[in-house]
Symmetry: C2
Subunit: 376 residues, 2 copies
């Protein structure tokens, strides 16, 4: 329920200056109003203390008597004081420096897009004293990733977001980095157990379950075999998706036989012959779940076989290729994670850590489902 305001009819109460201060549009460029805000000066005066003391109370710093604290608090409430975030940020001349460590993205549109989003965020946040750098490492190469992680020092960088492969040495490198006081979040794919603050990405078990559910329902009771194609099970996210997929398939669609997973290394050229082989080998193949990149290989193999209308396909990540496949009817649904959201959430989480906010929980990245009809 919207409660009526306490000053009579809603409409007339609209936008009235709560403090009753003088104001006016004179001199205000564009459509913003110049105002005299309630400041800590006002609070200080009301409470009969100095600015410094008000600051101490507002920021929960030590060294203020209980009595003073409550006087200041009362003044704050009474005057309806709200701190000005701009002034506060200006006064503390701090800068946040974060690093994004991503696999080299030559052949993989999802990673290329993620990298683009990191760049975009770096540009947007430059005027907010957040400096973001990117460092690449060789895809799937944990030694190279470790080299990069080991080279990061807390003096240079207070937070790292990394799209990591899930191997013991990487886990170790992350833990060491955290030990050096650097905040780490894993991005897209997790490394566990590790001391990272969080994994910023979709719930991949859920994603796998959704894929199973959609394939099963779209098949409407038809029986047959289902192929599962991953990039690599060294990637935690792919492993998770497969897990969720198998779980739901087993429980809800026992008439469908899941074939052993094949790994295409997120590479279309490598994936295509593998899928072509499966199609040839299994005339009763009725569905494919593609949980990694390399969709182009799947599309090509399917369309070459002429069976694209008979095989229900659910893939991951909306890219130029998957989009075209969706429109053509070769793909039936695409499960997507919005890279921009992931970057934003990662920055937020790293910043919260750097600012010492305990218990900050970044929002979960949503699992987007696209069919032909809701393409953006």
């Amino acid at each position: 329920m919207i409660r009526a305001t306490d000053r009579g009819p809603a409409v007339t109460a609209v936008c009235r200056d709560p403090a009753g201060n003088a104001r006016g549009r004179a001199g205000a460029a564009e459509g913003a109003v110049r105002v005299r805000r309630v400041t800590i000066r006002d609070v200080a005066a009301e409470a009969g203390v100095s600015l410094a003391t008000v600051d101490r109370v507002l920021n929960d710093r030590k060294g203020v008597s209980a009595a003073t604290i409550s006087r200041v608090r009362a003044a704050v409430d009474h005057l309806d004081f709200r701190r000005d975030a701009f002034a506060a940020s200006l006064a503390t001349s701090r800068e946040h420096r974060f690093l994004f460590v991503l696999p080299e993205s030559g052949r993989n549109s999802f990673m290329a897009n993620l990298d683009r989003e990191v760049q975009a965020a770096a540009g947007r946040l430059a005027d907010q004293r957040i400096r973001i750098r990117r460092v690449p490492y060789h895809e799937f190469n944990d030694a190279d990733l470790c080299r990069v992680l080991d080279g990061i020092s807390a003096e240079e960088c207070m937070g790292v977001a990394v799209v990591a492969v899930d191997t013991p040495s990487v886990r170790e490198a992350i833990n060491t980095l955290v030990g050096r006081g650097v905040g780490v979040v894993t991005l897209v794919s997790d490394v566990t157990p590790s001391r990272r603050l969080d994994c910023i990405g979709i719930n991949n078990m859920s994603a796998g379950r959704v894929a199973a559910s959609l394939i099963g329902r779209f098949l409407g009771g038809r029986a047959g075999k289902i192929a599962t194609v991953a990039g690599s099970l060294v990637l935690f996210d792919h492993a998770d998706r497969l897990h969720g997929f198998n779980q739901t398939m087993a429980r809800e669609f026992p008439q469908l036989l899941i074939l052993p997973v094949i790994e295409g290394r997120d590479d279309s050229a490598a994936t295509r012959p593998l899928v072509a082989g499966l199609l040839a080998q299994h005339p009763d193949l009725v569905g494919i779940y593609s949980m990694g990149a390399g969709n182009r290989g799947i599309i090509e193999a399917l369309e070459a076989s002429g069976r694209q209308r008979d095989v229900v396909v659910v893939a991951h990540e909306l890219t130029a290729h998957s989009r075209r496949a969706l429109i053509a009817g070769t793909f039936d649904a695409v499960i997507h994670q919005e890279a921009a959201d992931e970057v934003e959430n990662a920055v937020r989480a790293l910043k919260a850590f750097a600012d010492g906010q305990v218990g900050y929980v970044p929002p979960r990245v949503r699992i987007d489902i696209f069919v032909r009809d809701n393409l953006p």
Copy 2:
């Protein structure tokens, strides 16, 4: 592709201070580094002009000679100067005031939630000099809505977001408001043609098409009748959804017969008997598309009939009720729009207008699809 940085090995170049300024963690609370930024002072010195002139150039103000402009620009580039958004905001003591006009939300969880999100945004943005007020009007009552809109003055409020019914008088009231210099965005449901800046909401035609596609595919070739339930076709969004739904149904699933739409006024109590009636009247009813609120009425009618497993149901908005129905299997999919995103986009659009940014295009709100397996 991630390009290697221009200072040798990526890792050692990480987070190096680009201006070569002195810095260090001494005195820096938490994990942020105190820095001496490149300021307009530096730019002024480099260009041999005063601060005021640099400011004029940076903000494209008039009264600077072309020669000076280019000298300043050169200095900016050379020093890699980035304006500090915090300092800029502090210096211009401006405040943005916006108004959200929503229908009274007593019975409708979606609107109640939207209202909650507006409140939350108001709280979050209070320290950023954005003041948001809410004003309710009687649901579906265009006279009351007009009364509210007519009472808004540009002096008090520079932007309005409104969840409107699409009637001629409302259109007129919006146009008048815009004529008075107030920026207006429609929220969730559009009013066209009107002079509003934008409609912040999902693409409802798409949403309708998705619903049709899902119902059709989930039915897997079964024939029968489909019921369509709207809140009211006076709501542009419901009308749009119906349009998209019918379009896709006609084109892709001709074996399904769409029954004439019924209007439940977004009210469960009113909707329930209507749906119960349809179920009784049409033993071959195989699907329901609920495009408005009042889902509880549909759920109750269905579960009372015992046919909830045989009828494929797609509804809108994830609420406590629809969520439960999804888990129980009574609903098969829920199409959702994230209220928080809509509020955020609305504020951005209104702010861009108030700041005189021409051609700002707010991002489209995504259409979320939920099935049992990706519930958040």
